[in-house]
């Protein structure tokens, strides 16, 4: 596995700046009329905030500015400006951005990673949000003094652990990209994700909205979803891919079917889903062909029969008996069980469902991991955590809690410059051209740009994962699975913690 991964060539990060004229920044720089356009600030700033202008320099990349913390530096432009023309202040718009799960700093950090492929140099928290619990209260604790060289560490994940005769599919990163349907997002967003997944050697799920022809060149990196509405599901699409996913439920709206409001059902979306343009689409809940675990097994068998090389993944939400659900899925023949926690993403869902139904992923993963271990089947199934994984640190914590890998969605949207205004569902959809089917809005995004932004972000994530594993003294991400002993929960911290918290 290591050999194979070493042969895998990760793509290179490429500078991919914001599609909009002004990137959103934490600080705002103003240059007053006192400026004599000497250009000192342009030469001083190592972060490249300024560009030359005809009357005075322009702070074109003020999102690179490190703010007042720069004061101690020799190159601090505010104090070095000969005419005292530069003032630095917090950007009021920044305060309006984001929410408790994705605070402005986490959004801006993710944008920075998507732009540069690197972690932010600005003083911004790129590791956690501000939700006050779960991942945001967990810290990784480094106790081991021996750092492993990064190039000796494997981040690869084996997806078929069942021991059956189906292919051993390995991905070089411990994650793949979750289902977002054509219709909920634009074709450009969808293709950007699929192409990024291909470049990174992993997978991207189609979601429940059909399999657009544009995806065909990437068949080997696509997971096609079979969900309760069976929108766009055909034998032929099942046979194209290496992984087929059953979506029983979705973390953001557990126990509710999918939901696409009428405005987003354009003629093309309708055709793909064999529905009527302009009328809202609700997937039923649950599968009307599955009312027992035996029915579920028939479902899995049906897919296996139709595509003899496919691995089967089962995506479920996190009810009280999530551990039993996982065991049931295993005995029905699933290779992968994806647990989608209650704080996951969606194109549209009732707020009451997002907040209240089913448990957060941080609780579900250790429970399932433990239960599968007790049943003696933990090594036979791949556990994927999703629903609220926002950063490389969340991913590492989810794995330490007991998942083999994670599945992402919202992070991709943020890489494409989503700012979580929560208006994906209404009217023409996303005003920023990400989650929309409106042609004019779709055109706001270029495919190359979108692909590279997502690649950049995940390259930065992989770098962070390597850093974490290295400091933990682990040679493979598989060593991290279930290692709750490397985690510390800030609320329950007692006594002297040996080691460094991160």
């Amino acid at each position: 596995m290591m050999e194979k991964e070493r042969r895998f060539q990760f793509p290179l990060a490429k500078e991919t700046p914001s599609r909009f004229r002004n990137a959103l920044s934490k600080y705002r720089i103003a240059i007053s009329k006192a400026c004599n356009n000497c250009g000192a600030c342009i030469d001083l700033c190592p972060y490249g905030v300024y560009k030359a202008g005809s009357k005075r320099p322009r702070s074109v990349d003020q999102h690179y500015c490190i703010g007042p913390s720069c004061e101690k530096n020799e190159f601090f432009c505010v104090s070095r400006c000969p005419t005292n023309a530069i003032s630095l202040m917090p950007n009021p718009s920044f305060e309006v951005l984001g929410d408790r799960r994705w605070p402005a700093e986490l959004l801006a950090s993710t944008w920075h990673m998507a732009e540069t492929g690197k972690i932010p140099h600005q003083p911004m928290n790129y590791k956690t949000g501000d939700s006050g619990g779960g991942f945001d209260k967990l810290r990784i604790c480094y106790r081991n003094g021996h750092a492993i060289p990064r190039d000796e560490i494997s981040t690869a994940l084996q997806l078929n652990r069942s021991g059956d005769t189906r292919p051993k599919v390995t991905v070089p990163v411990p994650f793949y990209l979750g289902g977002m349907s054509f219709g909920s997002v634009s074709i450009v967003s969808m293709l950007s994700r699929v192409r990024a997944a291909t470049a990174l050697g992993t997978f991207c799920c189609t979601g429940e909205g059909g399999y657009p022809d544009e995806l065909k060149p990437y068949d080997d990196h696509i997971i096609t979803q079979v969900a309760t509405g069976l929108f766009g599901v055909r034998e032929e699409t099942i046979q194209r891919v290496r992984i087929v996913e059953f979506k029983y439920a979705q973390g953001a709206k557990p126990g509710l079917g999918g939901h696409l409001l009428g405005d987003k059902v354009t003629p093309r979306v309708a055709k793909m889903r064999e529905a009527v343009a302009g009328s809202a689409l609700f997937s039923p809940f649950p599968f009307h062909s599955v009312y027992s675990v035996e029915d579920h097994k028939k479902h899995v068998d049906w897919i296996k029969e139709m595509n003899p090389r496919a691995l089967v993944s089962v995506k479920v939400s996190t009810p009280t008996d999530v551990d039993m659900v996982a065991v049931g899925s295993f005995y029905a023949g699933a290779h992968i069980i994806q647990l989608d926690g209650s704080y996951g993403g969606t194109g549209a869902a009732p707020d009451i469902a997002k907040k209240n139904i089913a448990m957060p992923i941080e609780y579900a993963v250790p429970r399932v991991h433990k239960f599968l271990k007790e049943e003696g089947i933990r090594d036979k199934i791949t556990v994927i955590a999703s629903g609220g994984v926002r950063s490389a640190y969340d991913a590492a914590k989810a794995i330490a809690l007991g998942a083999d890998g994670v599945c992402l969605g919202t992070a991709d949207m943020v890489a494409l410059e989503c700012l979580r205004c929560h208006h994906c569902e209404s009217g023409r959809g996303c005003a920023r051209g990400i989650a929309t089917t409106d042609q004019e809005l779709t055109n706001l995004m270029d495919l190359e740009w979108g692909t590279q932004r997502i690649i950049n972000m995940y390259l930065a994530w992989r770098g962070q994962l390597l850093g974490i594993l290295s400091r933990l003294g682990m040679r493979s991400v598989t060593e991290l699975v279930g290692r709750t002993d490397v985690l510390v929960h800030l609320d329950y911290m007692k006594g002297d913690i040996e080691g460094e918290l991160d």
């Binding site: 557990p254 509710l256 009732p350 609780y363 985690l487 007692k494």
Partner: protein, 465 residues
């Protein structure tokens, strides 16, 4: 099954512009007068539709803007910004947060449940109801054609005493007593208000809405006026004064159509119950008592003495009386379980309220053991109340609640309740439960943070622990 319950709703306009989270800050100075100004390209046409409300000095920009930031990011001279609205942050208090108030306003105005894109953005958990999640079922659904389909989910509850079993004589005739029951099609009753500006019109709005929904609104005897008689069928009279001849006279005049009456708990409360029962056997009597450490024991006592309905109340923040107060959900669980243990839970109806601010609170309190809940402040908020509590100080209400049209108010409340009803259906549907009566006390179908956190409690024990 009884006929399907549905609350029709329709948009009911605001009287005042709602206070919203953020505003647009746009300067004219320095404007380059671009031929293709970003303001003209606004997806939501915020700038085209711009208007100013002179009376309230509110710019429509702020309320129409959907925070896409395209103008902020597009203006070449960076002249457009967004800023937090300080008035929004100052709304309500720690419990009645700005987000809760705007959630209620939205439902009352539109008659729709809040739906949005992207995942949940709030805190991981919180105190009170936010430390609890409800269950879902992967493969079981209560109905075959959806929660709004032909096979519907019932939200009906009945209030009153229930017998444990039926007795028949040798002729097969029923010998057990059959205590009177009143049915409400949705498990919410409108409670007394902790504060409000002068409320004649407010009470009328409550009563009208209660009549529309076929539920009840509590009206204190001291505030009863003959004008309200039209709504007597949906009134729960609350005896808020020592019982005397005037009370007798008043009740005698109304007793024909009165179905539910509530009296405060007192050591000799059973005497008053019998006195009222003498007037009409089928009048259901509820006893109001505060949530407190003693609530479980007292509820058991009253149940044993044959009480029909107990109405437990917490304060407006969901706290019980006494030192180190428990939150309503935690005491509710205890009261419910203590009655279950005594084998008496099904004989009595427990109504509970105080701090019920959102639809999910209703569902969660029922899971903790209430048969039905009571709601107070949200009804005011539906009529645009900002929970500034100035009325408590005798200062004029900023949204002139005393002067609003009761008809308008009742339609706003109806909209809110339509939203709550639909959200209750979502919760029940996700759990695979077909009747709200079966949700009561189903604590095994909920997840409590104190239990879930056990997984984490061992993480982080250092050497010295």
């Amino acid at each position: 099954m009884p006929s399907k319950y549905h609350i029709p709703s329709a948009p009911v306009a605001n009287r005042f512009k709602a206070i919203i989270r953020s505003g647009v800050i746009a300067w004219d100075e320095g404007c380059l007068k671009c031929a293709k100004c970003v303001k003209k390209e606004c997806v939501y046409k915020v700038y085209d539709k711009r208007s100013l409300d002179g009376k309230q000095m509110l710019d429509s920009l702020d309320s129409v803007c959907q925070d896409c930031f395209r103008c902020v990011q597009g203006c070449p001279n960076k002249l457009i910004h967004k800023g937090m609205n300080p008035a929004y942050k100052a709304l309500g208090d720690e419990y009645w947060t700005p987000d809760i108030l705007s959630n209620i306003w939205y439902q009352a105005e539109t008659g729709r449940i809040p739906v949005s894109g992207a995942g949940y953005g709030g805190p991981f958990s919180g105190p009170g109801f936010d430390a609890m999640w409800t269950d879902m079922s992967e493969i079981v659904r209560p109905t075959r054609d959806g929660i709004h389909g032909r096979e519907y989910i019932s939200t009906l509850v009945d209030l009153g005493r229930k017998v444990k079993f039926l007795e028949f004589n040798s002729q097969g005739e029923l010998r057990s007593p059959t205590p009177p029951l009143v049915e409400i099609p949705v498990p919410v009753i409108f409670d007394l208000l902790p504060w409000s500006p002068p409320r004649r019109r407010i009470i009328e709005a409550f009563l009208q809405a209660a009549a529309t929904l076929a539920t009840f609104a509590l009206v204190p005897l001291s505030e009863w006026t003959p004008d309200f008689e039209a709504y007597i069928n949906n009134t729960t009279l609350y005896v808020d004064r020592p019982w005397d001849a005037t009370c007798d006279r008043l009740i005698d005049g109304l007793v024909d159509r009165l179905r539910l009456i509530e009296i405060p708990d007192a050591p000799d409360v059973m005497q008053l119950v019998s006195r009222i029962k003498e007037k009409k056997e089928t009048l259901v009597v509820a006893i109001r008592m505060p949530f407190s450490r003693a609530a479980g024991e007292r509820a058991a006592e009253l149940t044993e003495q044959g009480v029909e309905v107990i109405h437990l109340v917490a304060d407006e923040f969901g706290r019980e009386q006494g030192e180190y107060p428990l939150f309503i959900k935690d005491r509710m669980k205890e009261v419910h379980l203590s009655l279950v243990e005594k084998g008496a839970r099904d004989q009595v109806t427990l109504i509970a309220g105080g701090g019920i601010a959102m639809a999910e609170h209703m569902a969660k309190l029922i899971i903790c053991g209430a048969d039905a809940v009571t709601c107070d402040i949200p009804l005011l908020v539906a009529m645009e109340c900002r929970v500034c509590r100035r009325c408590k100080e005798g200062i004029a209400c900023p949204v002139e609640l005393s002067e609003m049209d009761p008809q308008w108010g009742s339609m706003r409340i109806r909209n809110l309740m339509a939203g709550w009803h639909n959200q209750l259906l979502e919760i029940l549907g996700a759990m695979g439960i077909r009747e709200v009566r079966r949700l009561r006390g189903e604590m095994g179908r909920a997840m409590f943070q104190e239990d879930l956190e056990k997984e984490f409690a061992s993480l982080g024990k250092g050497a010295g622990a």
